[in-house]
Amino acid sequence: MSEVKKYPAPVTNPETSAFWDAAKEGKFMIKRCTACGEAHYFPRSICPFCYSDKTVWEQASGEGTIYTYSLMRKSPTGPYAIGYVTLKEGPSVQTNFVDCDLEKLKIGQKVKVVFKPTDGAPLPFFTVA
């Protein structure tokens, strides 16, 4: 289960740079709209639900449950499990599951965020809680 895989560095842009700056400090951020109260992911400046521009950064707990997953049995870098995690805060996020037995993943399982290094800002992944 050792992670030898090299992940691409985020390119980042003015709209999302705060997410990646926080990631460097181990913080997993989401955006919340102060007008309608909804949280969303990935982060946008305009709320995708009510179109307010009053969105603010919020540090998420990093905890959630597996909504679904699929274990890709072969790839040039070996097997990997892609999936969606529904965060405690509400939004579901696409991710990979790492540092755990990929054969034993289950829908509904509790997971938590873990960051993996790149040549730039670290990327968020999830592992069994």
């Binding site: 995708p48 699929s70 072969k74 991710t95």
Partner: protein
């Protein structure tokens, strides 16, 4: 305004090749264009509308030039790109343009060679930094849908396998099909796991090839020699994770495109005699059948089991050419071939072993993009006149 009955499919052509190492992609476009033009019995110089998608090298303007279309006459161009269902959307857009008087003879082409050439990379959107690293591919994106569908509705791998089994029953009669062997549920379940819960035989083939359509006015269609097939309903839609709120991967944008098409046509799924359903994976078919209303949500597994999709056996004959699961999947885009087999069924030109009797109403439906991430869907209801 409606497009109901205002546009006819007067020409079709499916490239017989599945492996084209000695041809260029543009050449394949020209070959399918020529085939459809000859099938319709029109002149290339009469074409005044051209439709193509992301598989056309360089897009519409290099293709129009390469194909030698009559630029003095060409007055409507559309390069809407929605992956595999682009061509079903093009059919609807061509009908809209024809109904509005913006063109009278439209050509739609699809061609390419993923088996023997490089595929252009998929363009990234605003999500790039938040998704690309996780390696979503067709296999695992559709696998994620299947996994959740099984969790929510108890759908089984055996039920999914029946979709491949039905396709293989049809493919045995298609001399051009890549996979002509009839397979069993056990064969599918015993094939290697590719991305859980999808086995190799849950996946479509990768093939070179292409296809083309000629869409025209009722008056021009009636002046030509082919059996009359017209578009009576059309729908298109898109779906994505939308900020991650209320994520539900067990349904597709077909829940919106389907009812729009049926409403315009003024018919219901019960009236359909033949269904072309994009079969990139077995789960794609199962979810689309539910979304289009052929059965209730969650009951797709029961619906497809026991040969219900086999022509002459079940209630809803589907993909009688063998579909993407067995025949071909040109450029990894299945929308065009779905229209082509539906037209053959309505014309009575399908293989006699799979031809549906009195086939007067057919559906051609497809998705494009990644069902488990973000995608488009389009539905066309076709009628023999």
């Amino acid at each position: 305004m409606t497009i109901k009955g205002k546009a006819y499919i007067a020409g079709i052509y499916e490239h017989p090749t599945r492996h084209a190492p000695d041809k260029s992609t543009a050449q394949l476009h020209a070959e399918v264009a020529k085939g459809a033009i000859e099938d319709a019995g029109i002149s290339k110089d009469d074409i005044d509308g051209y439709f193509c998608a992301g598989d056309a090298p360089g897009g519409a303007w290099p293709m129009v030039d390469y194909l030698g279309l009559n630029t003095k006459k060409l007055r409507h161009i559309d390069s809407t790109e929605t992956g595999g269902c682009s061509y079903i959307i093009h059919l609807g857009h061509a009908a809209e343009a024809i109904a509005a008087g913006k063109c009278s003879i439209a050509l739609v082409t699809l061609a390419g060679k993923p088996r023997t050439g490089a595929m252009p990379p998929r363009a990234s959107g605003a999500e790039v930094d938040f998704e690309t690293a996780y390696g979503a591919t067709t296999h695992n994106a559709y696998g994620m849908c299947a996994m959740r569908h099984m969790h929510d509705y108890g759908t089984t791998s055996e039920q999914l396998a029946w979709i491949k089994v039905a396709a293989s029953h049809h493919a045995q009669y298609n001399p051009y099909a890549m996979l002509k062997d009839v397979v069993t549920v056990e064969d599918v379940l015993n094939s290697p796991m590719i991305s859980d819960p999808l086995h190799r035989m849950d996946c479509c083939v990768v093939s070179d090839g292409g296809g083309a359509l000629i869409v025209t006015t009722p008056e021009i269609a009636k002046s030509l020699k082919k059996p009359l097939v017209r578009l009576i309903g059309h729908g298109e839609a898109m779906k994505g994770p939308r900020g991650g709120k209320d994520l539900d991967l067990t349904y597709s944008a077909g829940v919106w495109s389907g009812p729009r098409a049926f409403e315009e046509a003024g018919i219901t799924p019960k009236d359909i005699k033949y269904a072309s359903i994009y079969d990139s994976f077995t789960i794609t078919v199962l979810m689309q059948l539910e979304d289009l209303g052929f059965c209730k949500k969650g009951e797709g597994g029961k619906f497809v089991a026991d040969g219900n999709l086999i022509s002459g056996v079940g209630k809803l004959p589907f993909n009688t050419d063998g579909g993407g699961l067995c025949s071909n999947h040109p450029v990894n885009r299945g929308g065009m071939t779905k229209i082509l087999e539906a037209v053959r069924q309505l014309r009575g030109e399908a293989h006699p072993k799979v031809q549906v009797k009195n086939c007067d109403l057919a559906i051609a439906h497809g998705t494009g993009g990644l069902l488990g991430v973000r995608h488009a869907a389009s539905t066309a209801i076709l009628e023999r006149v």
